[in-house]
């Protein structure tokens, strides 16, 4: 059974989002990493990229497939996690401490529209 920490919000496409002041931190959920299998590469966006909601925020390469990370709301990439460049498997072993990008939202209130942990869990369990 996948875990969904209550302090995080979630996107329909299984990203988790954490609010830290004006900055939003994005990773992928335990459910998503479990579906992907071994992650062998993270294709990051460029710092400074402005991406619209649901646009490609990067790609995760598992040993079996390539999967897009989606932008949870309109915003700009301000930082990527350098640890994942050499150790992408950290996403599998510790998905909620392995953030992928930090973003600045165009409209920070968009965060409120994201899914709660219980809603995201319900959605994931219904999709299996």
């Amino acid at each position: 059974m996948s875990s969904y920490p209550d302090e995080l919000k979630y996107a329909i496409s299984h990203e988790w989002i954490k609010k830290e002041g004006d900055i939003f931190i994005v990773g992928i959920s335990d459910f998503a990493q479990n579906q992907l299998g071994d992650i062998v590469y993270v294709d990051f966006p460029e710092v400074g990229d402005k991406i619209e909601k649901d646009g490609a925020l990067g790609e995760l390469e598992s040993s079996k497939a390539v999967s897009e990370i989606n932008m949870p709301f309109d915003g700009e990439v301000i930082e990527i996690n350098p640890l994942l460049e050499d150790n992408p498997e950290l996403i599998n072993s510790d998905p909620y401490n392995s953030w992928i990008v930090k973003i600045e939202a165009e409209n920070p209130n968009d965060f409120d529209d994201l899914l709660s942990a219980s809603k995201a869990k319900e959605l994931a369990e219904g999709s299996v």
């Binding site: 071994d38 062998v40 590469y41 390469e61 040993s63 079996k64 390539v66």
Partner: protein
């Protein structure tokens, strides 16, 4: 959905299950990558009971197989097996197969999951057909132990003597009356054995092998690692790398010994320069000198290989620097309409990504499948 007799074992090991040709099978248990690597270093155990099996016997069985199968069976000895293809009259591949010779007039045929009726009907389409076929697909289970420590595992189970001079592509025993038929083909590219038993005997055999292998680093392996190991070994996936087009000019031309097959296509193995794959593992154009020359058949990450100074090495290569972290390389097969040379660089393009890859003779070097029993004993026991 169909299940093998080992379904409860897969569930109790928390296998990530998925439909595979109508069978509910484990893709992986904990990690497809670790399962792949375990077969190179130690031993992996696979349930491949979803495959199809039948015996064929009769006075004219050799002639019938010569007409329908791509290999010449004249020189195949009893207790030996052979890998080849069932081809139709256009030289399209119906399925790839391993055939075991039980006696001069009786053979045991392994085809892919769900292909038993199709291949049997193909055999029955020949005027020569006067043979008896018995379909064992739902009566037998197949458990494979692959990797260099599979020898020690089976010696612990059956005694050392059985394995003295156990040759590559030979088999011993039978699956009747609760016995085990054991063959040595190493279809993963690594040293290994395949075990056939009556279905009801399989759960106990699975448990016994896991228990005996616990000190040898045995790892239950799903179908994801089976496929990636097979690709790394340079072997085709049926209905993907070989299929309904004229067979010929491939890395598997040994399958059509003494026969010339004319094909407008050329199939090659390739290895890229990092782990990145195309978005769809079986789709993409192949470009050479900026022209599209064919299509991608398979595109996977071979997690056990790397490039150092242009040389492809595997985690088991002697000249791999100590503590070097192998990330893997993209690899697979392409089908093109012009001949290429080993070393040529082509571009794979799926509209989203462009990958530079190199045509190679071998994907994963230093494979152990063909090593002698004595050498495996010396180096791995």
């Amino acid at each position: 959905m169909k299940e093998t007799v080992l379904i409860n074992k897969h569930k109790s090991l928390n296998g990530k299950m998925a439909s595979f040709n109508g069978y509910n099978m484990p893709l992986w248990y904990k990690s497809a990558k670790n399962e792949h690597l375990s077969v190179l270093k130690d031993v992996g155990i696979f349930d491949t009971s979803h495959m199809s099996f039948f015996t064929i016997e009769g006075g004219e069985v050799s002639e019938l197989l010569d007409l329908s199968f791509s290999r010449v069976l004249d020189h195949l000895k009893v207790n030996h097996l052979i890998y080849g293809l069932f081809l139709d009259d256009k030289n399209f591949v119906i399925d790839d197969s391993v055939i075991y010779k039980f006696s001069e007039n009786k053979f045991f045929v392994i085809v892919n999951c769900g292909m038993d009726e199709i291949v049997i009907n193909h055999l029955k389409s020949f005027d020569l057909y006067r043979c008896k076929i018995v379909n064992y697909s739902h009566r037998l289970a197949k458990i494979d132990v692959q990797g260099p420590k599979s020898l020690k595992l089976l010696e612990n189970y059956m005694g050392e003597e059985l394995f003295n001079n156990f040759g590559y592509f030979t088999f011993k025993g039978s699956f009747d009356n609760g016995n085990i038929l054991i063959s040595r083909s190493g279809y993963t590219g690594e040293f290994g054995f395949e075990l056939y038993v009556e279905s009801d005997k399989a759960p106990k055999l699975w448990d016994t092998l896991l228990e005996l292998g616990s000190d040898l680093g045995i790892t239950p392996c799903g179908l994801a690692s089976r496929d990636s190991l097979r690709t790394g070994a340079g072997l085709p996936l049926s209905h993907q790398d070989i299929g309904p087009w004229p067979f010929g000019n491939t890395p598997w031309d040994f399958c059509v010994e003494n026969r010339f097959l004319n094909s407008p296509f050329y199939t090659y193995s390739y290895v890229g320069y990092d782990v990145r794959k195309l978005h769809e593992s079986t789709k993409g154009d192949v470009l050479f000198n900026k022209s599209i020359i064919g299509r991608v058949l398979t595109c996977v990450t071979e997690v056990s290989i790397t490039r150092i100074d242009e040389e492809i090495l595997s985690i088991t290569s002697d000249n791999l620097p100590r503590d070097y972290s192998v990330k893997g390389l993209v690899s697979g097969f392409i089908r093109v309409n012009i001949p290429l040379e080993y070393g040529d660089i082509v571009i794979l393009n799926d509209g989203k990504r462009e990958l530079k890859v190199q045509i190679v003779k071998n994907i994963r070097p230093n494979r152990t499948a063909r090593l002698s029993i004595n050498r495996i004993r010396r180096e791995y026991e």
